[in-house]
Subunit: 297 residues, 2 copies
């Protein structure tokens, strides 16, 4: 098979996964009782599109580890629900005070702060209901719920957000930035991949490999994100990249420069690909890491 | 054994349970990494005292159903963590905007809104980590996590809070008030009791009995709470109970009057006691229901 054909296959597989995820997310609260505008607010943010990278990781890691993708779907949705709740809460006036998210008004702008807080709480709680509803052996469900709680909780994602808030208004050192990012975004990406392996009944060694893949991919993703922020705002505003660094939030670009970032993304992507050594069909996940590294948006 | 001796035993048992719970809650984040003031903020609210009714229910239902109390302790703590997170979020400026809770400044007054939101998120997430860490067979852990998520989530406690917010500023009908309270406080009290039965490996019939007990107890608790609000503010202010009803929040007192409430508390307490028919040692839980019904604070 030629490379272009394989790429076409992977692009199709990605689109299939994404539509599987969209459909399931859309059904989650369909038969739920609806209280005030809570369920609508949850769906507003949950169904706002996005690349669905995290749940795709769950599904495709499951497939690579020999598992049934359908069985991993509730776990994949749980990860996306947690990602979505974190965006809703991060956007609140008391946090980043963002008005727009993916081109639409943020949750609290549409539904008010109280409902936005509750929509986040509701999605976070319902994520664990989803995990428990998976048609998997009970020990795997417990493992999955524990993994998700550990990585999303105060020693993981929530801890990273606390560091982010505490670090506002001052420059961070490189180790501080790395720690913040590994908690704030890395932990949930790792959990997403790990959950796929758990759903497939993977071995501890496989789980370690998959986490190493996701760890490097998550770091590359974040560095690339910081690069795109600068590149897109340069294109929009035609302004010099290096300006105003003292007033800017510390990012990988302010720390390493654009060239340093490009090099780091390359290294991390190679590292993530290497972590999959020994799996018989890592093709899609390799392609995904390389595609994310080169993405333009 | 005379009644006074039994009461003394029950009072001692309650104190034992409470100190067991306090100790475990105090240890929860002792060895955790500490990020900014997140862990301190979580502990500030988690260790603020209170009667610990919910976790006591978990422990004593477990004991009544023949289980080992120690095995139910992580589940009991998880319930209290969820109760605490809900108080932190309810107190936020965007919600009830409360400055004081149990005589101390609320979480956001001490740590700021951002940290208070994250402390709530952290406690909620860590509650599920606690459940998963219980030394119980995996199917019981899955059952417990599912029960907790269902009752605390958008179709339970969070849904009740959304109804409460949406109903502000207008009078509620009796059915609206009942629905709101059964979701906002009843669901988690039911879950607390159910978790105790799950930890003990109780039968579906036992679980139904225990939930019926907790349902009636939870309603009685709420009605008594509304009565105490009026009684204590009357004593403080020496003002007439019935005044300003149009401007007041709808409560069981505004709906039924104090005498109607007293009668309802009595009926519900009898109902909760009856639900335990057939258990061999329901003494403590009967005493607890009767004690809560007559409580002065």
């Amino acid at each position: 098979m030629e490379k272009t054909d394989m790429e076409k296959d992977f692009t199709e597989l990605l689109a299939e996964d994404q539509s599987l995820i969209e459909r399931r997310l859309g059904e989650l609260f369909q038969d739920s009782p609806r209280f005030a505008d809570l369920q609508e607010a949850m769906e507003y943010s949950l169904l706002a599109g996005g690349k669905r990278i995290r749940p795709v990781l769950t599904l495709e890691v499951c497939r690579m580890c020999g598992g049934e993708v359908q069985l991993a779907l509730p776990l994949a949705c749980a990860v996306e629900m947690i990602h979505t709740y974190s965006l809703i809460h991060d956007d609140l006036p008391a946090m980043d005070d963002d008005q727009l998210r993916r081109g639409r008004p943020t949750n609290h702008v549409v539904y008010g702060e109280a409902t936005a807080i509750l929509a986040g709480d509701g999605l976070l709680t319902a994520a664990f209901e989803q995990v428990c509803a998976a048609r998997l052996p009970a020990p795997q469900i417990v493992e999955a719920a524990a993994c998700l709680a550990r990585n999303a909780g105060p020693a993981g994602m929530v801890g990273g957000q606390a560091l982010d808030m505490a670090g506002e208004g001052r420059a961070l050192t490189r180790p501080e930035l790395e720690q913040l990012q590994s908690l704030k975004t890395g932990a949930l990406i790792c959990a997403a991949a790990d959950l796929g392996c758990i759903a497939a009944g993977g071995t501890p060694a496989q789980r370690a490999q998959v986490r190493a893949y996701a760890l490097a991919l998550g770091r590359a993703f974040q560095v690339r994100d910081d690069m795109l922020d600068v590149i897109s705002s340069d294109q929009e505003l035609g302004k010099n990249t290096g300006s105003d660094q003292a007033n800017e939030k510390t990012t990988f670009v302010t720390t390493l420069g654009l060239d340093g970032c490009a090099q780091l993304v390359e290294e991390l992507t190679r590292e993530s690909v290497r972590a999959l050594d020994g799996f018989s069909a890592p093709g899609f996940l390799i392609w995904l890491a390389e595609t994310l590294a080169g993405r333009k948006a």
